[in-house]
């Protein structure tokens, strides 16, 4: 058995004759059992990456393995909720769940689906799909995904249509599912703050490129916000620097996390703070020239190197 949920190497996707790759040279490894935030601006390639992982779209470059094999072989163990949530408008909620049961023989768990559909703040079984709001349809789509009892749950902008209360409830339900069954969850969003508390893994996409990939705590520990009077933040790699009063504040990748003090993070008149995940993401997005980071020490040094020289 593998402990990897998704492993991608040099993954790319190009649609038709469009000049730009929608996804280019993406390499990362997502371990099983993680709650992963797939973050990036609109058009960064998040939906494309999710569709490839779900086995619905073929990459035009590179390789991807899902749950130890090609995505198509893992289809029965994956649940994928697309952004537009295709549901039959004329069916009732209850009939939609029955359909889910029939389409997933041997795997379906009615109680899991019902907890989401009819639980706290939930829906009427007899309500027709067409009468539901966007947020309520999200609930039905998530109920179908939960009923399938997947090992990997791929959610494309799952929270976009939800009001704050439903968002909190459904995120809680997702986390409960994960803790009980060890489900790996990947959810995309362009709002980092929305995912900050629930995720422990981050994939940051920008312009089809993977800017950051890794365990959130390790990524945070590898960065620092330094404020000083000078503009020199050596030996650290400056991701982004801004004037702050008479001095400068810089988001840096710390030179050597194992020897922080020796590396001189606290140099002359420097104040060091830990960035939040949101600050980290925004800093990297603002700085197109940030060296690509990969805290996960697997074998894609070549890839990291390429992006660094390209920057």
């Amino acid at each position: 058995m593998t402990d990897t949920a998704i492993q991608a190497a040099g993954l790319g996707r190009r649609y038709g004759r469009r000049k730009r790759d929608v996804l280019a040279d993406c390499s990362f490894r997502l371990p099983k059992g993680r709650i992963c935030a797939l973050v990036g601006p609109n058009g960064a390639g998040k939906s494309t990456l999710l569709a490839i992982a779900a086995g619905l779209l073929k990459p035009t470059a590179g390789t991807v393995e899902v749950l130890g094999g090609p995505p198509t072989a893992a289809r029965s163990r994956i649940a994928y909720v697309a952004q537009h949530k295709p549901l039959h408008p004329q069916l009732t909620v209850a009939a939609t769940l029955r359909l889910g049961a029939e389409l997933n023989p041997g795997r379906w768990e009615q109680s899991a689906a019902e907890r989401i559909a009819y639980g706290t703040g939930g829906l009427e079984p007899k309500a027709k799909i067409r009468s539901l709001s966007g947020g309520q349809r999200t609930r039905v789509a998530l109920a179908l995904a939960f009923g399938k009892r997947p090992e990997l749950l791929l959610l494309d902008e799952p929270m976009a249509d939800l009001d704050p209360l439903a968002r909190h409830e459904l995120t809680g339900a997702l986390m409960a599912e994960a803790v009980e069954h060890g489900t790996t969850i990947v959810m995309s969003s362009h709002v980092v703050a929305e995912l900050e508390g629930s995720c422990d893994y981050l994939l940051l996409l920008q312009g089809g490129r993977m800017r950051l990939a890794g365990d959130t705590e390790e990524l945070l520990a590898a960065h620092a916000l330094l404020t000083g009077t000078g503009t020199d933040f050596a030996p650290h790699t400056v991701i982004e620097r801004r004037a702050s009063g008479r001095g400068h504040t810089a988001l840096v990748r710390v030179a050597d996390t194992t020897e922080e003090s020796a590396a001189g993070t606290t140099g002359p008149a420097r104040h060091r703070e830990q960035p939040t995940l949101e600050e980290l993401v925004l800093g990297h997005l603002r700085s197109h020239q940030a060296p690509a980071g990969d805290i996960d020490h697997t074998d894609h040094n070549d890839h990291t190197h390429q992006q660094e020289t390209a920057a």
């Binding site: 709650i35 339900a173 986390m175 803790v179 009980e180 900050e196 508390g197 629930s198 422990d200």
Partner: protein, 130 residues
């Protein structure tokens, strides 16, 4: 008996797992939890707070490492020992009341006193694990 509820403040700058550790200790100090009591299950915590499951497990491991709770396989996590609290009428408190009065008389306002107190705390408890 009700379940202890955790309040997670995402803006506090304190790591989420530490907030759970601190709030559990506070519950122990206040007597809301006593030896033998069960902590909420990880499922209950994540369902109520929508935080990451691994964060809860990390907090519980930390509490276990400090000997405050123990995980019993298949049953849950239980309180092992209580935390001593400074009784409301201890001599230490009386001295602090006296000190606060003198600080005020010396012209310090509330924020000055808080800053001074925090600085002294930091100095004296430097290096201690929370």
């Amino acid at each position: 008996m009700g379940v202890v509820e955790y309040r997670i403040d995402r803006r506090s700058g304190v790591a989420t797992y530490l907030q759970i550790v601190q709030q559990t200790k506070q519950a122990l100090r206040l007597g809301l939890l006593e030896p033998g009591d069960q902590l909420p299950t990880a499922r209950e915590v994540v369902e109520a707070t929508a935080i990451n499951p691994n964060t809860v497990l990390k907090a519980y491991r930390e509490l276990e490492r400090e000997g405050l709770v123990e995980a019993r396989r298949g049953l849950g996590t239980f309180v092992r020992r209580s935390l001593g609290s400074a009784p409301a009428e201890s001599p230490l408190r009386a001295e602090l009341v006296d000190w606060a009065g003198r600080a005020r008389a010396a012209g310090l306002d509330r924020d000055d006193v808080a800053a001074l107190f925090t600085a002294v705390l930091d100095e004296n408890f430097k290096g201690d694990k929370e």
